[in-house]
């Protein structure tokens, strides 16, 4: 029913309504209902005689982002590659350069998720280079730098990663139009970097800010909030605030389980952290005060 309604919004370009609604649902973290709309958007764009290559690339990219969210990395990669091939054959323009920069950014993200950090860095840097040449939207460049920083961090170059996070964050903070979610991602990533360096006290403030922003911008049930809550909990645990850490792990695991399912890598990571914390605390002091019946039912 929803599909028919959104497709009818602009009958001559039915993919537009489908894609916009699919992207909106994805941004809300409603991944399951977003998927059929985005698949339909791709099909409708392929069939649309007036749809250009950029339109099809945008539909493929939107579905690719969803597949990455759902940890279906091979499928996401194929969709991005198709989009890249389409855009690469178009006449050079700012619009095609923008699309290329984003597709390289996203392909780098897939290789980052798959642990192929060397190729991820090559792809992400290609995106940054293209974006820097466009000289248009600094916030997009900042988002590219933050994504590249995560890859550089994964390769163990922490100082360089920190510089990139800070550069991206500075651009975002001075932007006329506040890109709150991008700011939250940069803060959360910087906090996680401090934690990986075992500078837990330094990690606390940026992660707390990221949680506050994500809760406001994304809502309380979004799996991207769940991810940052997990990382905030990890830092609280290392700072020996065990009760708060347990509550945060529990919230993170519940959110990720509901949005992503029990077998998603992010849900598993949150649940492992919660179980480990409880086991170590039980071994030291007996059961935690909050433990009775409060485990997220991720095995249901």
């Amino acid at each position: 029913m929803l599909r028919e309604v959104v497709a009818s919004i602009e009958p001559s370009r039915p993919w537009l309504g489908l894609r916009m609604e699919g992207e909106r649902l994805r941004e809300l973290g409603a991944f399951q209902p977003a998927e059929p709309l985005l698949r339909e958007a791709v099909s409708a764009t392929e069939l649309g005689s007036v749809a250009g290559a950029l339109e099809l690339a945008a539909s493929l990219n939107a579905l690719g982002l969803l597949c990455k969210d759902l940890a279906r990395y091979d499928e996401a990669s194929e969709l991005y590659e198709r989009a890249l091939t389409l855009v690469s054959t178009q006449r050079e323009s700012r619009a095609t350069s923008r699309a290329l920069a984003t597709l390289y950014h996203n392909l780098g993200g897939i290789d980052h998720a798959r642990g192929r950090f060397q190729s991820a860095e090559v792809l992400a840097r290609r995106g940054v280079t293209i974006r820097a040449d466009i000289d248009e939207d600094e916030a997009d460049l900042a988002a590219d730098l933050v994504a590249l920083a995560a890859i550089v961090e994964a390769r163990g170059r922490f100082d360089e990663a920190e510089a990139l996070y800070r550069e991206g964050l500075a651009i975002l903070e001075r932007g006329v139009v506040r890109r709150e979610l991008e700011i939250a991602v940069a803060l959360a990533s910087l906090g996680a970097l401090h934690a990986r360096r075992k500078s837990f006290a330094l990690a606390l403030v940026p992660l707390a800010r990221a949680v506050t922003i994500k809760r406001r911008v994304l809502g309380a049930a979004h799996p991207d909030l769940g991810l940052t809550l997990n990382n905030f909990a990890f830092v609280r645990e290392r700072l020996e605030d065990v009760a708060e850490a347990e509550a945060l792990y529990l919230e993170a695991a519940s959110i990720c389980n509901a949005a992503l399912g029990p077998e998603h890598p992010r849900t598993l990571a949150c649940r492992r952290n919660l179980d480990r914390l409880r086991e170590s605390t039980r071994a030291a002091h007996g059961p935690l005060a909050h433990e009775h019946g409060s485990h997220p039912s991720t095995r249901d």
Binding site: A58, K68, A154, N231, A269
Partner: protein, 62 residues
């Protein structure tokens, strides 16, 4: 007729008919308009879609 007289700035010289339209509408004498590439693009390709990008955050674990 147009020429690019500095980076990212496009100068478009108006025809006599176009100058007359501007004069009628605004009372001002305008021989040419200058737009940045950013200002011009939405007028040339108003429907070019923007692709969204992903985030690379990962969970902290032991």
């Amino acid at each position: 007729m147009s020429k690019k007289n500095q980076p990212d700035l496009i100068r478009i010289v108006l025809s006599p008919e176009q100058q007359q339209k501007v004069r009628t509408a605004t009372g001002r004498e305008v021989e040419a308009i200058e737009l940045t590439v950013q200002e011009l693009e939405p007028r040339i390709a108003p429907n070019a879609p923007r692709l969204a990008s992903n985030h690379n955050e990962t969970p902290l674990t032991v």
